[in-house]
């Protein structure tokens, strides 16, 4: 049963969703534009007997996440781009030690200190690794406050299910905006046994220890052992690729042009699609919800459709997801691009102009 819709800020909804998913650990360091996640947690965690620590740095925060996850507890941290760069050390270790954790990145414009306005310039960092080594994070890109809620709950389930880090990739728009959200009476929280957790060996009634000692580690000095470990990770990633691709698609059956866009850009593009329809131009959309695993099959299949003449990829960067779109399209159709940088958002008119130009013969 869904409850009555309430108006809430995206950042606060992330925090509320985490708590509803059973997360009782938040470790963070302040950075704009995601501080409301932290403010919400600072209050709520104390009220419900959870753990909130304002860490000395993002580096420390992600390592507190590592600790809490090692002990078998649901845990989250949140930050924005420069802070996520600092967390990459811990993110790599979490991948190596196969710990479940949720990391939120409310992306702002970079590089460097950049600016604080919305951007999607961290797509590469989020989907291709970010830290050192051969690993993947599950990356989820919600497009509304309602989705932020539902997908954050889901992120905790996925993290536990695969013993993998799940990143929620939002941007300043999504974090700062208020929208109605309808909470469920009961959350679909899935619980998984964690026999690997380091929470003390414990004693039986006879005083004997209950089990052998557990270890959580990412170090494997022997190359043969490490290779096996890496193969196991890759096998796991293949299973995730098979099971967990999520996307939204519409209008593909008669679209002449297909927009690929995620999160904020997909919302702006939806308005444009309506405007284009009024002008008699049929535009469809594929919106990846998981950026990794990437919905390559639907893009490849769509590219093969005879009605589809071209793709238009819209992003808040200089063209990052477009590389994955092009790999999936694999040369079957042209892929055009529209992006804004520095924290600016594309206007509907800019995107519509691009569509009209593609429609009139690809002179873009």
């Amino acid at each position: 049963m869904a409850q009555k819709r309430v108006l809430m800020k995206g950042n606060e909804v992330i925090a509320e969703a985490a708590i509803r998913a059973g997360c009782r650990n938040y470790f963070g360091y302040p950075i704009t534009p995601q501080t409301e996640v932290m403010h919400y947690m600072a209050k709520k965690m104390v009220q419900i007997g959870g753990n909130f620590v304002q860490a000395e740095s993002e580096v420390a925060a992600i390592n507190m996440v590592y600790g809490a996850a090692s002990a078998g507890f649901r845990v989250m941290t949140s930050s924005s781009s420069p802070g996520i760069s600092l967390k990459q050390e811990g993110i790599s270790y979490i991948a190596g030690a196969e710990l479940p954790a949720v990391v939120v990145n409310i992306v702002r414009a970079g590089p460097g200190l950049g600016g604080i306005l919305p951007a999607q310039g961290d797509y590469f960092q989020a989907t291709k690794g970010g830290g050192h080594g051969d690993y993947r994070n599950i990356v989820i890109a919600p497009a509304s406050v309602q989705e932020l809620y539902e997908l954050t709950v889901e992120a905790f389930n996925l993290a536990d299910k695969y013993r993998n880090l799940v990143m929620i990739l939002g941007d300043g728009t999504l974090g700062q905006m208020m929208e109605p959200v309808a909470f469920r009476d009961e959350e679909p929280v899935e619980t998984y046994d964690k026999p690997w957790a380091c929470n003390g060996r414990g004693y039986n009634a006879d005083g004997k220890l209950t089990r052998e000692h557990n270890t959580v580690t990412s170090i494997y000095i022997d190359p043969d052992v490490l290779e096996v470990k890496n193969r196991e990770l890759q096998d796991k990633y293949e299973i995730i690729k098979k099971n967990e691709v999520r996307y939204e698609a519409f209008g593909l059956e008669d679209a002449e042009i297909v927009i690929t866009a995620f999160s904020t850009c997909s919302r702006i593009s939806k308005n444009v699609i309506r405007q284009a329809a009024e002008m008699g131009i049929k535009v469809g959309m594929i919106r990846p919800i998981t950026l990794w695993p990437f919905p390559e099959d639907i893009i490849r299949e769509t590219a093969a459709r005879s009605n589809v003449k071209a793709f238009l990829d819209v992003e808040l960067n200089a063209g990052q997801m477009i590389e994955d779109v092009k790999l999936a399209v694999n040369g079957q159709k042209p892929v055009y691009f529209h992006g804004r940088l520095g924290g600016n958002l594309p206007t509907q008119k800019e995107i519509l102009d691009k569509i009209v130009a593609i429609h009139e013969g690809g002179k873009v």
Binding site: L7, G115, L117, M178, E179, T264, R267, Q348
Partner: protein
């Protein structure tokens, strides 16, 4: 109504962001889709503040407003910045107590109201933008007075309910300015 968009702008601390939230809450009370998006960052610190509110019968595309149906201006810099962002046929609601320049566009409807005067009369700055919500409601019908009232009772904590009659009075005063 599809993507009816409002920009509210003024000084930080004037109650602009809250007024935007109240507008969104009132429309939400009517079962509409709504979004509220604030300007954020360094400009918040003692400078200008603005927010965009979108009200729609359908899922909202962008919460970011480039071309607004209505712009509510509570100071002169906002007027200079946002007058050009109004769709032809749209509305500009101006606080004449704060803004001494006149609107230059002729293809829009201009509503002038001494909102800061109303704020002085009611004894708090926040009543100014609330009176302008009265203009907004009366002129465009994007939400009703009734929804505004009922949403206030729903959204505000009990301890603040005593402020509601004052807010409604300011709202009504604003609505009365719309001929």
């Amino acid at each position: 109504m599809i993507d009816f968009s409002i920009i509210l702008a003024g000084f930080g601390g004037q109650g602009i962001l809250s007024a935007g939230k109240f507008a969104a809450e009132a429309a939400l009370y009517e079962g509409k889709e709504v979004s509220w998006f604030p300007s954020y960052g360094p400009e918040m610190r003692g400078g200008t503040a603005n927010c965009s509110v979108v009200i729609s019968d359908e899922p909202i595309g962008s919460p970011v407003v480039n071309d607004a149906d209505v712009v509510i201006c509570c100071n002169q810099p906002s007027m200079e910045k946002f007058e050009s962002s109004i769709k032809p046929g749209g509305y500009l609601i101006v606080d004449t107590g704060m803004i001494k320049i006149k609107a230059t566009r002729t293809d829009i409807n201009v509503i002038e109201i001494d909102a800061s005067g109303i704020a002085d009369e009611f004894g708090a700055m926040a009543y100014g933008p609330i009176s302008m919500l009265g203009c907004l409601s009366k002129a465009t019908g994007c939400f009703s007075r009734d929804s505004f009232e009922k949403s206030l009772y729903e959204v505000l904590p009990e301890r603040r309910h005593k402020m509601i009659p004052g807010n409604l009075a300011a709202f009504d005063k604003g609505a009365a300015e719309v001929k």
